[in-house]
């Protein structure tokens, strides 16, 4: 790495990129960020910082109202009531009934429960699953397990170049023995909004009406990235199952949920005491569940449209700042949030600067206090392995290798977005000069 510029980019030569200014120690009313005063955290799609109110609620529950919801004494009843309130909040947010919510240990577990649970329950009705090629690893790997362990067949539907899957392509992949279609609402790497509503409508016409095939194929939507940033309505989507996660919406890690429409059968992944109406055993993670509900309440305070509007503003501002300085920037996916029916989530922006490896840019940005990622955090263990999402989109190699993901939250400010844009431009400028890319 370069010996110059320990904490900030040197930028400014040839490109109008002002040096980073120190800012916002302890913004948003919390303690200072772990990254220091220069920190601009743009990795909320990997995990978001819990709201201060969430952390307080979690702590209160852990230290004072710590009962086991299955206990029937006062402390237990109080814990059960707190879980019930969070269940109601989540149900309201996604347009479900509280009895249709199953709390889990996170989004990956919920995705596994959806795929394996449905497959086990309907194994005699068909052994075929349809999913997009750009699903989260927890969906793809769970489906692979169905393939190898239960003898299922998979149809992976590729997206277009902008990352979106065409509803007719999904429909065409459905067979008489399909038990489940799984499609994410928003892609975690490029932010593309999938046409889940349209797919849900088309599937309605394909569902069996009697016998073993009644209600099949079921429709599962992974809404981990969209919850709290866009409207998520299980009825409007026609979803039978829907996955959400706490730590992506300023709630705690270690908690998620699966919406299971009334009447949908699934075999649990975790057996035991019969918690969560027999669908997921294990003592409820009360602080986690309460924190999740608290986080959703906090977001609702902003109003669902208001959150999306603010996030889009940050994304547009950063993109405009970079575009004005780096003509060669490539936006992966459909970066436009302004269309009447945006096909891009308001909080995820995936950019490529061909010629500069994404990892190099990411490390360089980190030294200037800007935290981004090169893909999903989940696949970052497999270093050197290319993003399956960008590859499925059919993007050229140099675009795939140079991609960085920027993701915003309501805790980011417009000033941060602009400043981050400047730092990115400066980093790109410096790295391309060094690489002799002129």
């Amino acid at each position: 790495m370069s010996g110059k510029g320990e904490d900030r980019p040197t930028g400014g030569r040839g490109v109008a990129c002002g040096p980073a200014k120190a800012r916002r120690p302890g913004a948003n009313g919390g303690p200072p960020d772990g990254g220091g005063p220069d920190t601009i955290y743009l990795d909320s799609a990997a995990t978001s910082r819990p709201f201060v109110e969430v952390a307080e609620a979690v702590r209160e529950i852990m230290e004072r109202s710590y009962g086991n919801p299955s206990s029937r004494h006062t402390l237990g009843l109080g814990a059960a009531a707190a879980v019930r309130r969070s269940r109601e909040i989540l149900a309201r947010v996604i347009g479900a009934d509280p009895t249709e919510i199953v709390f889990t240990g996170g989004g990956s577990e919920a995705n596994n429960l959806a795929l394996k649970g449905v497959a086990w329950a309907h194994v005699r009705s068909g052994k075929h699953v349809v999913l997009s090629a750009v699903e989260h690893p927890s969906v793809i790997e769970a489906a692979r397990w169905l393939e190898s362990f239960l003898g299922f067949e998979l149809s992976l539907v590729n997206p277009d170049r902008d990352g979106a899957v065409r509803p007719e392509a999904i429909e065409a992949a459905v067979r008489p023995d399909t038990v489940l279609v799984s499609l994410m609402h928003v892609n975690n790497e490029v932010g593309t909004v999938q046409p889940v509503g349209e797919v849900g409508r088309r599937l309605l016409g394909l569902k069996g009406t009697d016998g073993r095939r009644k209600g099949l194929p079921l429709f599962h939507v992974d809404a981990v990235q969209s919850l709290g940033r866009m409207a998520v309505d299980v009825r409007a989507m026609g979803a039978d199952l829907l996955t959400v996660s706490g730590h992506k919406v300023h709630g705690p890690k270690g908690v998620g949920a699966l919406y299971v429409a009334r009447g949908v059968r699934l075999v649990p992944l975790v057996h035991g005491g019969g918690h969560e109406a027999g669908r997921r055993s294990g003592t409820e993670n009360v602080p986690g569940i309460v924190g999740f509900g608290e986080a959703l309440s906090g977001l609702l305070d902003h109003g669902p449209d208001e959150v999306g509007r603010r996030l889009s503003e940050l994304k547009d501002l950063l993109l405009a700042t970079v575009r004005a300085r780096c003509a060669g920037v490539v936006v992966n996916g459909d970066g436009d949030t302004t269309a009447a029916r945006p096909r891009s989530a308001p909080h995820i922006l995936n950019l490529s600067f061909p010629g500069i490896p994404g990892e190099v840019l990411q490390h360089h940005l980190e030294r200037s206090g800007v935290y981004v990622s090169t893909g999903s955090a989940c696949s970052s263990h497999h270093r050197g392995r290319r993003s399956h999402v960008l590859q499925a989109m059919g993007l050229p190699e140099d675009v795939v290798d140079s991609a960085v993901r920027l993701s915003f939250s309501v805790l980011n400010t417009p000033a941060e977005a602009e400043e981050a844009g400047l730092r990115i431009a400066a980093a790109v400028e410096e790295l391309s000069e060094r690489g002799g890319r002129g």
């Binding site: 303690p31 109202s65 006062t74 009843l77 990956s108 705690p252 075999v267 975790v270």
Partner: protein, 435 residues
């Protein structure tokens, strides 16, 4: 404050939830424990300051990953294991599910027979039943004696050539009996089968050494040892194969997908560290409180019996049956007096069926119905025990006043006592309080 909305009006351990002020004595630590202050503080740091995703390659991620690994080492220390043998999970139940399902899948070439006991936690029993239903396992359920102890000879006899796994809990969650783990471990080693133990209740309560005990797989939970809920771990001895329950990203060495619950894991690690440091003190203090509570109750209340083993039991477990009363009624009365206890495991307290553990021990259903579990914790004091000894006998007496069976038993005893001098000197009925 938004936090008010969700948690307003919640009962707290200091009795703030009710109108009447009373002494508040929490005696349900086997169900769950309060989180220690320093544990909560450590967790808050990883929620508000170092909140990164442990899989991220930047410094937020690295700090989260380092904290996770430190916690792993702490949990491993308390087990007497190596850090790489610890797989974090969402809790003890998930760990039980994975250990059984995951090892059967990994060793399907050996067979599909499992040996377990009738007194396991439902996480083990229901998993076994489900596997039987799916045709993936054959299961032998071993009996226990009157003290809820499994006979290691029974284990040895039950092992067949196609046995993959023996699963025997370390200590029972209802009656606290500690099993002869060393002997069972040795037997399993000799016979070449895997040994899993559900140590959810024992971990943090008694000293551990997975090597000496011959354990291959072990389930533990954080919220039973003053750590947070939603976290647990599965110990997997190095070299033993296991298939994951949850697939996805490559977390936990590909054994458990899902973003690491960093604050939870950190809290668990610290709680384990505190348990290790305070082990001797905790065991000594709790054992003394336990025995005083047991002796006090059996001495003060007639027709009462201790369930479980008199000495080989968890330092914090008291389980007593009171004849002629319903456990549920006792609990309600105790709760009104600020005492939180339970009638069995919290997990099944919603059902009115008598405990499967007490029935397996050969305790008659009508006696099993009148059992109360009181599990002590580090915050309990001598005064708490005094308070229970002051309140509970009165509660039992009031409830028995409504019982014709009790009146009959007392009358019979009085008749026998009165008639005894004139009759042949043979032994009378069972002395009250005796087991």
């Amino acid at each position: 404050m938004t936090s008010e909305r969700v948690i307003a009006g919640m009962a707290t351990s200091d009795g703030g939830g009710a109108g009447e002020r009373f002494r508040s004595v929490y005696l349900d630590h086997a169900a769950t424990t309060p989180v220690r202050r320093e544990v909560a503080e450590a967790m808050a740091h990883y929620m508000l300051t170092d909140y990164g995703n442990a899989s991220s390659v930047h410094s937020f991620g690295r700090r989260a990953a380092e904290a996770t690994e430190e916690a792993r080492a702490r949990v491993a220390d308390l087990m007497g294991a190596r850090p790489e043998e610890v797989v974090f999970m969402s809790g003890g139940t998930e760990a039980d599910n994975m250990s059984i399902r995951g090892s059967l899948a990994a060793y399907s070439d050996r067979g599909r027979h499992v040996v377990t006991t009738k007194i396991e936690h439902h996480a083990v029993l229901h998993t076994c039943e489900e596997l039987e239903k799916e045709g993936l396992a054959e299961v032998t359920y071993l009996p226990v004696d009157r003290t809820a102890t499994v006979d290691p000879d029974d284990v040895a006899k039950a092992i067949r050539p196609d046995t993959v796994l023996v699963s025997v809990m370390f200590a029972n969650n209802e009656v606290g009996t500690i099993q002869p783990i060393m002997e069972i471990g040795r037997t399993c080693r000799e016979k070449g089968v895997l040994f899993h133990t559900d140590a959810v209740q024992a971990f943090g309560a008694v000293p551990f050494s997975v090597d000496e005990m011959g354990i291959d797989l072990m389930s533990v939970s954080s919220h039973k040892l003053y750590g947070p809920k939603g976290v647990g771990a599965l110990y997997v001895r190095k070299g033993r194969r296991i298939r994951p329950l949850i697939h996805g990203g490559g977390h936990e060495r590909k054994r458990r997908a899902g973003t690491s619950n960093v604050p939870g894991v950190v809290g668990f690690g610290l709680a384990a560290e505190l348990a290790r440091k305070e082990m001797d003190d905790r065991v000594r203090r709790l054992t003394a409180l336990r025995d005083r509570l047991i002796d006090g109750l059996l001495g003060r209340v007639e027709f009462s019996h201790l369930n479980g083993h008199p000495t080989r039991r968890l330092p914090n477990n008291v389980n007593v049956s009171f004849e002629f009363v319903e456990g549920e009624s006792i609990l309600l009365s105790l709760d009104k007096k600020g005492i939180a206890a339970s009638s069995g495991s919290a997990c099944t307290s919603g059902s009115l069926e008598p405990s499967h553990v007490l029935l397996a021990m050969g305790i008659p259903p009508e006696v099993a119905h009148g059992s109360v579990r009181m599990t002590l914790g580090t915050q309990n004091t001598d005064e708490d025990v005094d308070y229970v000894l002051e309140v509970l006998p009165g509660v039992i007496e009031r409830l028995r006043a409504m019982s014709p069976l009790h009146a009959k038993a007392v009358a019979e005893r009085a008749r026998e006592a009165a008639g005894r001098p004139g009759e042949r000197c043979e032994s009378g009925p069972v002395t009250p309080g005796a087991r």
